[in-house]
Each structure stands twice: as C-alpha cells, then as structure tokens.
C-alpha cells in the first residue's frame, strides 16, 4: 500500500462508517458498532504505518478540489514528522476510547449514533492532522466542532447537555471567525504563482514565511502580526484559552469517553497542533508570540486556580486540561518546536487515563462529586485507583513521570532571558497543578480516614450518574478496566519517549534531554513539593479538614468556584449586546419598514376613496368638472 493509499484509508474509513449510518445502517446498532471499531482499528494501523514508513523528506499528495480563477483549494495529505506523530496519538487514543466506550455505552439505546459520530470525529481529527492545505484544515476544524456539538449534546433529552452543546459550538465559532478572516487574508496576500490562482498549501506558506514574502503591512500593521493574531483567535477558541474557555467545563455534560477523547487528548489539542504547524508564521512577529505567551500563562494560572476548588471530578479534569494546554502553548510560543508538542503527547496519555478512570469511578459511585466518590468507592476498584495514581502523579509532575519530563522541557525553554515573568507564572501554575492533582488523589483514595467533610452533590452530575450506573457489570467492567490498565502502563513509559519523538520530528535529542542537576529542575521539584505538600496537608493526612486552604479566603474561593465569573460576563454579552441588537433589528423590521410599506398601501386606498368621492352623483357637478379640466387644458395651451 502506498503512502497516499494509507492516508486515504486512515481518513476515509471512519467517514465511511458515518455515511453508512446516515444512509440507514443506523437501524442496526451492533453492525454500526462493529463497523466503527474495525474502521478505528484500520485508522490506527494506518497512522502507525504512515509514521513508520515516513520517508526522510516527508510526503505530500494533493488533488485540486474546488478551483476558481482567483484561488483553488486542494485536498490531500502531507506527512511530516509532526503530522505523523500527532496522527499516531490521535489514532491510538481513538481506538482505545472506542474500546472503552464498548463497555461504557453498552446499555445506551442510541449507541449506533454515538459510535457513528465518534468515527466522524476521528476522520475529521485525522484530516486536521494530515491536511496539506490550510483550507482543508479549516474544513476539518469545523467538522471537529460539529462532531463535538453532536457528542456533547448526545443525550439531547437533557436540557443542560443541549445548552452545553450549543455553548460549545457558538464559542468555538467565535474563535473560528478570526481563523477564517486570518486564512482569507493569508490567502489573498500569498505570492501568486504562475497560474495566477492562489492557494494555501502549507508547504508554500512555510516557504513564503521562510523567504519573507509575506512582509508588507495590512491595515497599517505588519502583515505577520495581523494574520498571526487572527489565527490565534481560532486557536484560543478551539483550545479553550482565556476568553473563550468556559465552554470546556460545560462540555463535561457529554459521555465520559467523549470527554476523554475530545476534550482532553485530541480535539482541544488541535489548536496547539495548528500553532506547532505554523510556528514559523507565529514566531515571525514578536507581538504575536508575546500575546500568545501572555494569554497562555494567564490561562494556566487561572484554570489551575479553579481546578483547586472545584468539587466535581470531571470539572477538575476539564479545568486542568485548560491549564495544561496553556503550558503547551507557552512552550511553543517560547520558540521551541518540540517542547509544547512533547507535552501534548504526554498530556494526551495521562489526561485520557485520568478521564477513563474517572469514568469507572463515576460508574461505581453514581456521582461525579470527589468526596462522594471517595466515600463510596475509595480505592476499591483496582484499575481505577491505579489509573488515578499514575495519572495524578504525572499530572502533578512527579519526577520521572511523563508529565514531569515534558513540563520540564517547557520550563527549560521558558528559562531564557526575556521570559522571566512567564517562567515564574509557569512555576506557580505547576505548583497549583501539583496541589489539585494531589487533592484529587487524596480525596478519593484517602477518604475513609479523613473526617467526613460537608458533602454537596450538584444536581446535574446526579442525573448524569443515574444514566451511567445502570450497567450490568461483568464484561463491560472488565473491558473498561483492561483499557485503563493498558493506558496506565503506556503512560508510565511515555516520559522516556522524548528523544525518539525529537528524532522523529527531525530535531536532535538534546532539546528534550533534562540535565537533572540544573537550577530549573530544582525549582520545579520545590514547586511540586510545595503544592503537593499543601494539598496533602489539606486533604491527604488523617484528620485533615478537607476544606482547602482557600476556604480561609471565602471571596476568592467563591470567585474561583464560579470560574472567575467568565460565564456571567458571556451571558451579559449575549443578553445585552446580542439581545439588544436583535430587539433593535426587530423594531426596525416591524415598526419602521413594515409600517411604512403598509402606510403606502393605506395611502393609495385613501387616495382611492378621495377619487371615488369625486363621483358625487350630481350631473351638473360632472359637467362643470369636465369643463373645468378642459378650461385648464386650454389655459395650458395658451401659456405653453
């Protein structure tokens, strides 16, 4: 099989499942599930094959898909170190989650729709990864958004799920607004090749950026900055960075495997991947990189803060994903290509592990609340506890674990002159990460010894759990347990794959190596110990008050619980601005335009009544009127 055939198979196979589902195969769930599993396996095999047989200079095969005289759009695949590595991650995790979902969704009546949309997501995500033309990336980007909408709103009979799905789609759409505009401007300012039709082939873009063809100014600013900032909007939207992040915690309404696959490992990582893909373009203007760094570092700290106080396990993991994504962005924005990406790979591993184990915990405890899980399940489920331990450890950044290895590279990258502020923020972030990671592990695993803290279960996680819990144990549990254990083992080894990854990306392994006795590592370990210790003190040790040091500062705690009131400002925006615009538009439509047009019609009608009244019935009035008009005509004749 040639590379392009592999590519077509990887992207095409899952899509076939979705199309067949649409055409009616959906009526037989088992067939759909089987089909989606086989296509997932095929795709995963495809990604591995492409990663292994990648020729030295990369491979690109495109066909012009929609051509007009001004510009043409190409579809195809572009295999580079980066794209095959990312494809590998996506393919494998997707296969794992599909397996896991077999158990998780065993009893759900709409199972066929779930697996079909999941395959649609896989094909879209792979298409983002392997795209050769930025427009193809944009297309896949939108499809990913669509499938996340359908998956978050999978249980659409739940109003909260429907609301969350809509919110996710709209917010990411805001981001895509900037992305589309950026792409359009990029397309229009690309150097014109011979045929006169411009296009957005990534290879051409990188080449143009390299030999500085894109210089010049656009609306008075440097072109790189304008395009870079606009593309950044898309990334901020998709990877849930600061202004457009509040959809991710609500996205937890969806089934847990969805959260595992989409909202931790792959989908939200698409933004970071795009940044890595077009890194030379972003770094070409210093303003864009500093803005990216600023947003990322602020989001890291902000998200970590919320994660520290959030009672619900999946919400904690969601906020933690936001902050980890900011770390990746910081790494990339600070200039190193491998730092962010390595963290992306490891994060995909341990965050997916954490989510899958959370799935088991919630299945068993019938509730998403941390203390509830701690009390009911504690460490009874072997696999889940193992997953939780390994995941939490690498999340917190315990040395030699996957999280630590990749985060350390990022911290090292930030440790250069000029990035001091961001470095300290990163350190603070990793400390807070250590805090909430240990807090989560401690609350669940050490629940029996600690005094019973006041327990509050949020309404909607209750309902969600009822749904999860009606499984009949047995085969489903064992499948889920096996996947978690497998993933745990893989995550353990991930940390050490740094050099191979760098080699795959065509960079020397030095960039990823950690010199253990440097001051940076020391600082990182101190941050870990500080955060972890504090959390252990609050939650882990016997007799802990399980309150969290923040309960001492109720104002801050309330703000953090409410997610820095971001939801409230977005609702304000939608209520005030959008509703206001709608009402004024309605007013114009009903009052101004309609009223004036009906007015014209009534005017004509009253003109009619006036004209008819001329017909008074008196014969002599008729005659005099006729003569009067004739007289006027005669006068006009004389005068003209």
């Amino acid at each position: 099989m040639s590379l392009s055939q592999w590519g077509l198979l990887t992207i095409g196979a899952p899509l076939v499942t979705f199309v067949l589902f649409l055409l009616g195969v959906g009526r037989r769930p088992t067939l759909t599930v089987a089909l989606s599993l086989t296509t997932a396996a095929l795709a995963c095999a495809g990604t591995w094959a492409m990663a292994i047989t990648l020729p030295e200079a990369g491979y690109q095969a495109t066909t012009p898909w929609a051509a007009t005289a001004d510009f043409s759009i190409h579809l195809g695949i572009r295999l580079t170190g980066l794209s095959t590595a990312m494809g590998l991650v996506v393919g494998t995790i997707h296969l794992l989650v599909q397996l896991y979902s077999l158990g998780y969704m065993a009893t759900d009546p709409a199972q066929a729709r779930y697996f079909a949309v999941l395959s649609l997501f896989a094909s879209a995500m792979l298409s983002v990864v392997y795209a050769a033309d930025l427009i193809q990336t944009f297309i896949a980007w939108e499809l990913v958004g669509l499938s996340s909408y359908l998956l978050i709103g999978f249980w659409n009979f739940k109003p909260s799920a429907a609301q969350a799905a809509k919110k996710a789609f709209i917010m990411t759409r805001f981001g895509d607004l900037g992305l589309f505009l950026g792409l359009a401007l990029l397309m229009l300012n690309m150097p014109v090749e011979a045929g006169g039709a411009r296009n957005l082939l990534i290879a051409l873009i990188l080449e143009a950026v390299a030999n500085n063809d894109l210089a010049g100014n656009l609306f008075g600013y440097d072109q790189h900055t304008v395009i870079g900032l606009l593309l950044l909007c898309g990334i901020v939207g998709k990877s849930a960075q600061f202004p457009l992040h509040s959809w991710l915690p609500d996205a937890m309404e969806g089934p847990t495997p969805v959260s595992a696959l989409l909202h931790s490992a792959t989908m939200v990582a698409a933004g970071v991947y795009l940044f890595a893909l077009l890194q030379p373009l972003f770094l070409a203007s210093s303003i864009t990189s500093t803005v990216a760094l600023g947003i990322a570092s602020f989001t890291a700290v902000m998200a970590a803060g919320v994660a520290m106080v959030n009672p619900d396990m999946k919400r904690v993991l969601a906020w933690s994903s936001i902050s980890q994504l900011s770390f990746m962005l910081m790494g990339l924005a600070a200039g190193s290509e491998v730092a962010g990406f390595f963290h992306l790979v490891t994060h995909a591993g341990f965050k997916c592990l954490l989510f899958l184990s959370a799935g088991i915990f919630i299945h068993l405890a019938h509730s998403g609340d941390l203390t509830e899980i701690g009390r009911k399940v504690g460490s009874r489920s072997r696999a889940a506890s193992l997953g939780l331990l390994v995941g939490a450890a690498s999340l917190a950044g315990v040395p030699a674990m996957a999280g630590f290895m990749s985060k350390e590279v990022i911290l090292a990258q930030l440790h250069q002159p000029g990035y001091e502020g961001f470095y300290w923020l990163a350190l603070l972030g990793s400390a807070m990460t250590a805090y909430y990671a240990t807090r989560m592990a401690a609350v669940i695993l050490r629940s029996d010894s600690a005094a019973v803290s006041h327990h509050r279960d949020t309404e909607q996680t209750k309902q969600e759990v009822d749904h999860d819990s009606n499984h009949q144990g047995g085969l489903a549990d064992s499948i889920m347990a096996m996947t978690v254990v497998g993933l745990a083992l893989v995550t353990l080894g991930l940390g050490w794959l740094g050099p191979q990854l760098a080699g795959h990306l065509g960079l020397d392994a030095e960039l990823v190596a950690i010199d253990w006795d440097s001051m940076g590592v020391g600082l990182a370990v101190t941050a870990l110990l500080a955060g972890g210790g504090l959390a252990w003190y609050d939650y882990g040790r016997t007799g802990a008050y399980r309150e969290g040091f923040l309960s001492g500062l109720p104002a801050i705690e309330a703000m953090l619980k409410d997610g820095w009131h971001m939801d409230r400002c977005w609702r304000w925006v939608s209520d005030k601005i959008i509703a206001g615009l709608t009402l004024s538009a309605l007013f114009i439509d009903r009052r101004a335009i309609d009223r004036s047009i009906d007015g014209v019609a009534d005017g004509a009608r009253s003109g009619g009544v006036l004209a008819a009244s001329l017909q008074s019935g008196r014969l002599q009035w008729y005659l005099s009127l006729t003569l009067a008009v004739l007289a006027v005509a005669l006068i006009l004749l004389e005068w003209k």
Binding site: G608, A612, Y622
Partner: protein, 501 residues
C-alpha cells in the same frame, strides 16, 4: 359596379340585419290582443324573443363573415366622403366580432323584458353600424352623424332595462352628458371647418399642418372631447360608473367592450388631423396619465363589480390614450392591438356578470330594479361554477397585464412604443398604475377563488353557450398573448398605410 358593393359589404350586411330585426320587433307577434289570456301571451312573447335572439345571432355571424370577406377592399366611396382602407376593414372585423359575441352573450338576457329583446338586438346592430361608418368616414359631417347614430342607440338601450329604477337616472345622465359633450364637440368641429374651409378630414389635416396655431389645437381638443366621452377618458368618464352599475348586463357589456373599440378607432382617425401639432402630444399624454391614475385609484374603493369594471375601463382607456398620444404608427398599432385584447377580456368578465345575473332576482323591496352585482356575490365561484371562475380568472389576469394573456403583450408593445417616443417616465407611471390595478383585480379574484361559497349559494349550471364562449374567447386571449404575431403584422401594415396616405 360590384366593387362598390363589396367595399360597402359589412355596412350593407348590418343594414340588412337591422331591417330583419326591425320587422321582428314590429312584427305580428307583438301587438296586444285583449282576448288572449295573459300567460299564453307571455309564452308567445318569450318564444318570439328567443326567435329574435337566434336570428340576431345568425345575422351577427353573417355580418362577421361579410366583414372578413371585405378585408382586402380599399378606395373611396360616396364621392370621397367615405374611405375604405385596410385599417378600417380590420376595425370593422373586430366590431362585427364584438357585436357577434355581444349578441351571443345577450342570448335570453334576463334583464330585459322579452317584449323588448328584439329591440335590444336592433339597437346593438344599429350602434355597430354607426361605429363602422365612423371608422371609414372621411368627412366631418358623416363622421358626426355616424358618431350620433352609435351614441343614440345606446342612449335608448340604457333605459330599456326591465322595470323602473335607478337605471332611469343613469339613462338621463348618460343622455344629457352625451348631448352636452357632443354640442361642445360640434363647436370644435365648426371651428375646424372654419379654419380649413371644408369639412373633409384630409383637407383639414393639410390646413392644420400648414399653419398649426393654438386655435387649431383647441378646436381639435374640443372635437376629440366627443370621442373621449365614448372612450370614457378621465374628464369625460363621469357617466360610466352609474351606467355600468344600473343598466342591463348585456347593454353594459356592449358599452364596455365594442363601443370602446369603436371609440379608439375614431380617435385614431381624428388624430390623423393633428399629427403635426406637438402640443397635442403633451395634452393627450397628460390626459392619459390623469385618467389612468384616476381610474385605478377610484377602482380601489369600489364594492360593486360592474362599477369596478367601469373605473378599470377608464384606466385601460388611459393606457390606450397614452399609446395614441405617442403619435406614431408603432404606437397606433400597439394601441389597436391593446383595444382588441381589451374587448376580448371585457367579454369574458361580462360573461360572468351575465351568467351570475341570471341567478340574482334583481328587484329591490320598493319594486325598483337592482342590476348591481356586489363583489361578494362572486363568492366561492370556483365551487359554484368552475367554468365561470376560469373565465373570470383569464379576464381579470388579462386586464391586470399578467402573461400569458394578450393583456401582457399588449402592455409591452404599448409601453415599448411610448418609450421609443421618449416617454420613459410615462412608462414608469403606467407601470406603477398597473401595480395598483393588480390590487383590485386580485380582490375580485380572491372573492371568486379564495373565499368559500356563502351558505345557500346554489351551484350555477352553465349551459353550452357560455362554456363555448369561455373556451373560444379565453383560448383566443391566451393564444393572442403568446403568439401576437398572428395579427400584429396586419395591424402594423394597416396603420402605416393609413398614416402614409
């Protein structure tokens, strides 16, 4: 010698028909005979009336055939007082066709007493005869007498409606308004006679073009007044709504349809005299726009269908006058094409009025006759009689200028001719007027097609006559609309021959 008879064939045919009808009217069946019981006398009268109707129909058909035969005739008659040309012969065919269809409509007309039905046929044919002579009269005196023949037979027909009522009021108004206008027209003609020194139209034309003065335009305007009265253009239209509403449906059909075609033809011939007076262009244009707008606006406020048709007639007269104001052969051809289309569409509308009239017991409480037809009486026509509904739809859509009827093509040619003479803004005003007109046509169509039949409204069984008429005229209108080249070239040739000579 035979040439002369051939040239005068249609008029001779009509005279013959009038003679036959005269004898039927005063024939043996009519005189009152005490001994005879009332209802047998009534049956005899009805039989005589139906016999009269059939004879008139056959006679109308014969006249139509004669007119078609005589279409190629050309040349002067009666010592130059009468000119027969392709244009006059074409108009005679249309007038004969109009008469034939009007007689077809008036078969067993209910709104006239059986005793007076032969007279109805007699005066209809006399009026058509007058109009035929009007068209080829080449001399002011015969023009005036022919005009009066056409007019007086209609003044007599209007009061002939069954019983007493407000049609008498309309009759007197119609008569006196007509008399006064014809007196004013005569005054204008006398001035024309003075200016040209002779009453023959070609000489007047040469005299007027020799020294065009405001007096010439004044005189021509007054003379045109007489014909405007007949065409019911704005300042001369006041009689139309009352007459249409109150007189019997068959007479109203004739006044609305055929007599308007005659008026258009007469106007065309009179305008020959004023071709060189450019002030006339502005005057006629202004009159046309006024009458178009007045007709359309007034029609908006109407509740009675025939009154609405009257005002719409004023508006349609405005469109035709706008065409005639362009004073060039293409415009004249378009105007006559539009007049033909208008005649056919009016026949369709009045077919519905007459058939509905049969089912309405038109007598008010105080015994006076009520010939009005409110629009709501059309309610639910689609279910009561699909044939009439179809006829009404074609008629109304044609009047509204909706393709594929001849109304649309007519409007298109008319507006093209006007615009070619530089009337861009006039065409815009006419277009806007057309939109206003569509409103009240749709109000009627809504009554017929949308509002369900009022309870108690019985189904109207239409006999073979009206169905055949709907099919033939309706199809004719649609075919004429889609393929105007059937008659358009002949009209253009006729008009250019007339203007050229």
């Amino acid at each position: 010698m035979s040439g002369i008879y051939l040239r005068f064939l249609p008029e001779l045919g009509l005279l013959g028909l009038a003679l036959v009808l005269f004898f039927i009217a005063v024939g043996p069946g009519q005189e009152a005979d005490e001994r005879e019981p009332a209802d047998s006398r009534r049956k005899r009268l009805i039989r005589a009336a139906i016999a009269g109707d059939r004879v008139a129909l056959v006679g109308g058909g014969v006249v139509l055939i004669l007119a078609i035969l005589a279409v190629r005739q050309a040349g002067p008659l009666f010592f130059g007082a009468y000119r027969v040309a392709l244009f006059s012969q074409v108009i005679k065919i249309i007038l004969a066709a109009g008469l034939f269809f009007n007689i077809w409509l008036a078969q067993e007309a209910q709104s006239l007493a059986p005793r007076e039905r032969p007279e109805l046929m007699l005066f209809l044919s006399l009026s058509t005869l007058g109009m035929m002579m009007l068209v080829s009269a080449d001399e002011l005196i015969s023009f005036y007498v022919a005009l009066e023949i056409a007019a007086y037979s209609l003044y007599i027909l209007v009061p002939l409606t069954r019983g007493h009522g407000d049609h008498n009021e309309a009759a007197f108004k119609y008569f006196l308004y007509g008399a006064a206008t014809s007196a004013v027209a005569l005054f204008g003609m006398s001035i024309l006679f003075g200016l040209a020194g002779s009453s023959s139209i070609p000489q007047i034309a040469t005299a007027l073009s020799a020294n065009p003065s405001t007096l010439a335009v004044t005189a021509l305007l007054l003379t045109l007044g007489g014909v405007f009265f007949k065409l019911a253009v704005f300042p001369f239209h006041f009689w139309a709504p009352d007459v249409y509403q109150t007189t019997s449906h068959s007479v109203a059909a004739f006044i609305a349809g055929t007599s308007k075609v005659g008026a258009v033809a007469a106007l065309l011939r009179l305008l020959l005299m004023g071709l060189s007076l450019d002030q006339l262009y502005w005057l006629l244009g202004a009159l046309a726009l006024l009458s178009m707008s007045y007709g359309n606006l007034a029609a908006l406020a109407q509740r009675d269908f025939k009154r609405l048709l009257a005002y719409s007639g004023v508006a349609q007269g405005g469109y035709i006058l706008l065409g005639l104001a362009a004073l060039d052969s293409a415009a004249y051809a378009a105007a006559s094409y539009y007049a033909i289309a208008y005649l056919a569409l009016m026949l369709l509308c009045f077919l519905v009025v007459i058939e509905l009239g049969r089912t309405r017991h038109g007598v008010r409480a105080d015994g006076s006759t009520d010939n009005s037809l409110p629009i709501d009486a059309l309610g639910g026509l689609y279910s009561r009689s699909p044939w009439l509904a179809l006829a009404l739809m074609i008629g109304l859509l044609g009047l509204a200028g909706v393709p594929p009827t001849a109304g649309f093509s007519g409007k298109w040619f008319l507006f093209k001719a006007i615009l070619d003479q530089g009337g861009f803004w006039w065409v815009l005003i006419a277009g806007i007027n057309n939109t206003i007109a569509v409103y009240y046509y749709l109000v009627v169509l809504k009554a017929a097609y949308v509002t369900p039949a009022a309870d108690g409204a019985t189904a109207i069984e239409t006999s073979l006559w009206p169905r055949a008429l709907t099919l033939s005229v309706g199809l004719g209108v649609v075919v004429l609309g889609i393929a105007p080249q059937i008659i358009m070239p002949t009209l253009q040739a006729a008009v250019s021959a007339m203007i050229g000579s």
